[in-house]
């Protein structure tokens, strides 16, 4: 089998098998974490029949999605470093040595392209920036499967070499560039890459970890900034609901599979028993914030309307378009004592951008499913 060679311009000590192996293992872990938490988030938003997401613990989704975004951001320097380390192999000659090697090299393309695309599109999504013609969630999701598949192939192909590079002390160390002129040696490079990942985390993770919010210099959101002191994803003006939300004709209707359909004005809603709960809004984009909410329990409404005790519910917004104009409460969420149709937050009526007059807020739900400007509860 012929040896491969590459361009002789790559003299830097960082293009080293041990760095490639170590960064590969770390990226294997971070990409797996992102994949698992991402698929979980997808299942929660579009649950198949075999999947039912619990309403407890209340902050679980906040953690899984916070980890998803933070891990993805920290992976940016790790992926770039890994690609830098193996960059000379791109120019290896001859391009392949065997059919097995050709197949392995072909799967490098979906791995690199998919990895770069996932990190870039995820970063852009945290900024609500969509510079492409397709739906972000669909693309990010399906490319994740392609990328993880390519990662599995890559892992299989590199496993033996990785073990040898890292653990086999008898294996000959691949000669580094002789007497490198750089003071930036292999270990310093690795330390810098992990330092950069740490810096990215330090300057962004405050968007979900409240005590670090002052350090979130590079994050697109601050958990303490927005109307009533926390962020908004979609404003009332963008949703086109200002008029209908403020209208005198506003009503909340409870209908569907109920014995007594109900209808409430704002004042009648306030006259119902109120319940308070401290619950997070945990946005898919990675920011989260806990607030004190007050309003009517969904399960009290269901009981009043004579719905079945295991009823499931679809909550509709005044919004006319968009996929998030309604959201579903499975039986655990619908009957959780803290799942509210909130009228107030932190002792004040909701700002119209936070869903005035009425919004859904429940434990352990993605932010996009905490539907705002609620006007209809349909029991199913």
């Amino acid at each position: 089998m012929p040896e491969q060679t590459t361009l002789r311009v790559f003299t830097s000590e960082q293009h080293d098998e041990r760095n490639a192996a170590l960064l590969g293992i770390v990226l294997g872990v971070t990409f797996t974490v992102c994949f698992v938490t991402g698929v979980l988030s997808h299942l929660i938003q579009d649950p198949p029949s075999w999947f039912r997401w619990p309403s407890r613990p209340a902050g679980l989704y906040r953690v899984t999605q916070g980890v998803h975004v933070a891990t993805g951001l920290a992976s940016i320097p790790l992926l770039l470093a890994k690609l830098w380390v193996v960059f000379p192999k791109l120019f290896a000659w001859p391009p392949f040595r065997s059919v097995a090697h050709l197949v392995e090299r072909l799967t490098i393309f979906p791995l690199v392209a998919g990895g770069v695309f996932e990190l870039f599109s995820g970063l852009a999504d945290t900024h609500l920036w969509y510079p492409w013609p397709f739906d972000f969630r669909s693309a990010h999701y399906w490319v994740a499967w392609i990328t993880i598949g390519a990662l599995v192939v890559h892992f299989g192909a590199k496993w033996a070499g990785t073990r040898a590079a890292l653990f086999d002390r008898t294996a000959p160390v691949v000669a580094a560039a002789p007497a490198s002129t750089s003071a930036f040696d292999r270990r310093t490079f690795l330390a810098t890459v992990f330092g950069a990942a740490g810096a990215v985390t330090l300057f962004t993770v405050g968007q979900t970890v409240a005590p670090l919010r002052k350090l979130a210099l590079l994050a697109p959101r601050r958990p303490d900034t927005g109307p009533q002191g926390f962020p908004v994803n979609r404003t009332a003006a963008t949703a086109g609901v200002i008029e209908s939300a403020r209208s005198r004709d506003y009503r909340l209707r409870v209908e569907g599979k109920v014995r007594r359909p109900l209808e409430f004005t704002r004042d009648e809603l306030r006259a119902l028993p109120q319940h308070e709960a401290t619950l997070p809004i945990a946005c898919v984009e990675g920011w989260s914030t806990s607030q004190r909410w007050r309003g009517v329990r969904v399960r009290d409404l269901l009981e009043r309307a004579g719905a079945a005790s295991d009823a499931e519910v679809r909550v509709h917004s005044l919004q006319r378009r968009r996929q998030y104009r309604h959201s579903d409460l499975n039986r655990w969420h619908a009957h959780d004592p803290d799942t509210l149709l909130a009228l107030d937050v932190n002792g004040e009526p909701l700002d119209i951008d936070h869903g005035y007059p009425l919004r859904l807020i429940g434990p352990n739900r993605p932010g996009v499913q905490q539907t705002k400007w609620v006007t209809r509860v349909v029991v199913r």
Partner: protein, 162 residues
């Protein structure tokens, strides 16, 4: 760089990984959120090209120009700070350009900071760290010259110990 022969792990991983990739491609083709897979194909190729033929050569170029021009005691700290600066700029560039907020101009909670100031602040922290590291290296290199026997392993030692 010779590579070891493929072991059993490769032949196990190949069909599993291949099936996962096929699942992703099939799902993408059937997803109505994606009008044509050509769009995504173009973005994937673009992502690869942008890295392999823009970003990586740029990093090579910067390293090749900057590293030899620096004195030895600050070479590693400056390279480390440059790398970190580049990564932080990638993370914050949509906010610096206002990409995202320009789509929802009435939403003041998206990109709420003055990101020029915020970015300069973060970079100041990074470069202050690099300056402190350089100072330590300079000091220990100075001592190293006077007492090479006892201090030679500290700080500004030669890079390769192999």
């Amino acid at each position: 760089m010779s590579e070891p022969e493929y072991g059993r792990a490769y032949w196990v991983a190949l069909p599993i990984g291949g099936a996962l990739m096929a699942f992703g491609i099939a799902g993408m083709v059937g997803d109505k959120g994606i009008a044509t897979s050509l769009d995504i194909g173009a973005w994937l190729v673009g992502a690869d090209v942008a890295h392999d033929f823009v970003l990586a050569p740029l990093a090579c170029l910067i390293g090749a120009v900057v590293a030899p021009a620096l004195p030895r005691w600050c070479r590693a700290p400056v390279q480390a700070a440059l790398l970190t600066t580049g990564v932080l700029l990638i993370v914050v560039f949509p906010a610096l350009r206002g990409y995202g907020h320009d789509q929802v101009p009435d939403n003041s909670s998206v990109q709420p900071l003055d990101y020029t100031t915020a970015t300069l602040t973060a970079l100041a922290v990074v470069w202050a760290g690099a300056a402190a590291w350089s100072a330590v290296r300079l000091a220990s290199a100075g001592r190293g010259r006077r007492r090479p026997r006892t201090r030679a392993r500290r700080g500004g030692r030669p890079t390769s110990r192999r």
